[in-house]
Amino acid sequence: MTLSADRVEIPADPRAQYELSLTEHWGDGVPLLPATDDAIDALLAASPYPADHVLCVLPPCNGVATVELIAINAAMAGVEPAAFGVAIAALEAVSEPEWNPFGLTTTTSSVFPMLIVNGPSRDDLGIDYRASCMGGAAGRGTMTIGRAVSLCLRNIGGQRAGETTKSVFGQPARLGFCIGEWEERSPWPSLAERRGFRADQDVVTVHGGKGTFPMADIHNDDPRDLLYLIAKSIAYPLANMYLGNPENGEVVVAINPMWAERFGRAFPSVDRLQEFLRDNAWQPIELWPEGNAAMLRSRGRVDAGGRVHLVERPDQIVPIVCGGLGSLHAIALPSFGESHMQSRAVLANPATQER
């Protein structure tokens, strides 16, 4: 395959390569693999697109993301060929205007693409969705696909801390965040199915998430009580979603399988579950100091009962099932607000597909 990116001769010693990645600003501070032609070709062979296909333009510097350049960054991250399609689909989703890539790659907020994968390939690709799926399970797909997306935003999009992105804190997901949903333990249709895809499709959903917000309970097994507490927890007073338009953005709520089973008995319909969460995700206007309260009032965020709801619609609170069997915990992925999650089906090169 003819590649067009500049060739660079680098030391073969891995430690020297790491030092070079730091001085050349190719990396994120973590050791990388060399993007050799063999590694890149293997990824391109698994892609449904040719190497010179322009997938998208990535902000903030509007670098042109050809499939070749994406493959180079994916090779550096250690993405295996079978998983390359997930990275491609994720970048397509990130570049959708409704995801608001320009806003999210430049904001002072900590927001970053958080990938949620559904479909039959999760296990084969090493995408973690069971115990420690958000950090510690060490599945190859989880640890490399998200990182490939992050490297593309850095090296193609030009996202550099303090220069082109004003993120005050960043967050750990900036090294890459890619988890799966434990569909088989969910009492509801999967996230992908709810978003219009088939159960036999591999789908990646990209959420503009600000981080992981942990919630825990060891005292109460009642599903409605737990869901009420989850709703109140995600409606914390400094949530981004109070700053912008209430109809924009989603909050993902990751529910462990044991709680999911309990919640599913109380709410067999995920729509009813989302309504319950939405109806309880509010705080009284009195919670905020007057300066903040005045702004909320001026933007019409306070209802007749003095409640400030986190979101306008139930579908803006998005439950997914994942995590281990230890129960006791849920995690929210709070939203930046001005962004709608985007989903893409994963395409593979038909010539290499075995199923």
């Binding site: 082109t164 924009n248 001005e338």
Partner: protein, 182 residues
């Protein structure tokens, strides 16, 4: 290539914005002109400053049209962008603010670029902390010459009398950047 080296491919892309379109200036007094002002629902400080400038512009003989934005996407974002398009087409020049966070600076610049794409003079208002970012965004959108007025930072929590003083101090500068003559 030697036994001690390996060939790899460069992973970076060139940033956009090597070519920049020109910006525009009034080169006349503002009397009789229609000047657009874009405020932002998020920032009380800018709402006050822009109201004061609007008052001064009318005092100095211009008409003003004020619009308020605050959304970046979805239906509210699409409505806001349509408002800016309309503002750009019906006004003679515009003042667009406020860049005082990362994404709001991005959208301040984007909306200012919309006005400049209509070949109208425009000044983007960006706070000091975000000027480098604002310049980057303008450059990568191909509008490296966009006029940007830098206000102090932070602005939002300043009391009203200090904001009024800033409005007074910076009004002549915004007129100068628009290219208004006496």
């Amino acid at each position: 290539m030697s036994a001690d080296t390996v060939m790899v491919r460069r992973p970076t892309a060139k940033p956009a914005g090597e070519v920049s379109v020109p910006s525009f200036v009034l080169e006349r007094p503002i009397t009789g002109l229609t000047i657009g002002i874009r405020a932002d629902r998020a920032w009380r400080s800018w709402q006050l400053i822009s109201e004061i400038w609007s008052e001064y512009l009318r005092r100095d003989g211009a008409e003003t049209i004020a619009v308020e934005t605050g959304a970046q996407m979805g239906r509210p974002g699409s409505d806001d962008r349509k408002q800016i398009e309309e503002l750009a087409s019906i006004t003679d020049c515009a003042i667009v603010g406020l860049g005082t966070c990362g994404s709001c600076t991005t959208f301040t610049i984007k909306d200012a670029v919309t006005v400049e794409d209509h070949e109208k003079p425009v000044v983007a208002i960006v706070c000091e902390e975000f000027i480098v970012h604002g310049r980057n965004v303008a450059t990568h959108l191909g509008h490296g010459a966009l006029k940007i007025l830098v206000l102090p930072y932070p602005l939002e929590a300043l009391p009203a009398d200090e904001l009024r003083a800033i409005a007074d101090d910076y009004y002549p500068q915004v007129l100068a950047l628009l290219g208004a003559t006496a």
